[in-house]
Amino acid sequence: MNCQQALPLIAAYVDGEVDRLQRLSIEKHLRACADCAAERESLLSLRARIRAEVPYFTAPPALRKRLETILEVTPAVPAPKPRPSGNRWRWLSAGALTGCMATVLAWFVGTALVDWRANDDLAAEAVASHVRATLGNHLVEIASSDQHTVKPWLSARLDYSPPVRDLANEGFALVGGRLDSLDRRPVAVLVYRYRQHTIDVFVRPLSASRLPLRAVRGFNVAQATGADMDWIAVSDVSADVLSSFVNRLAAVAAVP
């Protein structure tokens, strides 16, 4: 091997990317050729300097913690469960009446279950977007305590116009708003500050589904209706404060 053949391979050799045969012939050449040996030394010394002098940034503990929180609030994609296969022969022998009753019962249980699942997912989804927005600095896209600024900004980006009210005189100061999505639809979010807490209020056209007042991973969720809108508040403030706030907000919004 001569220099012309060796030079282009030296970097690959230093990176451990040549096969055994190539390695042997490169090493043979390096022993004989001072120039190529210097090239190898220069690559090795650059590597040593990078490892010694260039900082390797490790993830801040706060980031790690945030990610763990996001992981917790993000609903896992459920694996499809195998459906138990019914025994057709027993169905037949048990008679048509039992079959009908079972069908009716299954329908009741089934729809109740679907409702409960949907509401559960909605609360979890609202909490997940609240957490993501709080942690990712996307809490507020339009920052203003002026309801006449926030409302048109939101209306221009949605197919409905959410009522916006500031309740600063009651301790809940309007900070701004953002667009988010809930139940696969774009939704207006009003952001309020209450003492040290942030409250997200999702405002969407009235829908049939009612959320039970409940906590998801330490965040409370409360719902109210008013002004033909569905108001869903998410925050880490106590459940009763959140509930009375969202009811008050919905009531105030209903007054023209």
């Binding site: 300097r49 990078i50 260039v54 940034f57 801040p60 763990e68 996001i70």
Partner: protein
């Protein structure tokens, strides 16, 4: 929640690698956190696409995509600069003005600076090779370029780092033994 525990086991151990890459690409601690967070949310979404394979290379690929999306929104100018010709321009950028030279005397600061000034396409190849010790094949996968391009970018980036006026100044100083 088995999906989550698998995610935690296979992805979270590589969080430092993800953050380091994002930190060197954005050159800002705060922006790096945003990029990593975005990448992890995506990783969680596409967790199914990690079948066997190396969780680290997989996560770094997502970090890189998240960075370019972030860049498009926040620093579109950098994407334009990210080509082969840009590295020649970087030689000039890497020469410090007198004020800067006075401010940044520390030798390691200079090598880090020279690295930070490489165009992102070259910077990430150096980081993946020298800091993460990924193979050419893995780097090609993460950066989405052919192996030949990995080798040529690595060669040019190393050459630039070695010849950087910043580093030569130090070499000269060390030889002269005088500040």
């Amino acid at each position: 929640m088995s999906d989550h525990s698998r995610f935690e086991k296979r992805v979270l151990p590589h969080l430092d690698a993800a953050y380091n890459l994002a930190r060197w690409l954005t050159r800002d601690a705060h922006d790096a956190e945003d990029v990593v967070q975005d990448a992890c949310v995506r990783a969680l979404k596409y967790e199914a696409s990690l079948h066997g394979g190396d969780g680290r290379a997989w996560l770094l690929t997502i970090v890189r995509h998240a960075f370019y999306d972030w860049c498009e929104r926040n620093r579109p100018a950098e994407i334009v600069r990210d080509d082969g010709a840009a590295i020649d321009a970087a030689v000039d950028i890497a020469s410090p003005g007198p004020e800067e030279a006075a401010l940044r005397n520390d030798a390691s600061q200079r090598l880090a600076d020279a690295l930070a000034r490489l165009p992102p396409g070259f910077r990430q190849v150096v980081i993946l090779r020298e800091m993460e010790e990924l193979s050419y094949k893995d780097i090609a996968r993460v950066v989405d370029i052919p192996i030949g391009t990995v080798m040529s970018r690595l060669a040019r980036a190393r050459n630039l780092l070695q010849r950087s006026p910043l580093l030569r100044a130090i070499a000269g100083r060390a030889a002269g033994g005088e500040t």
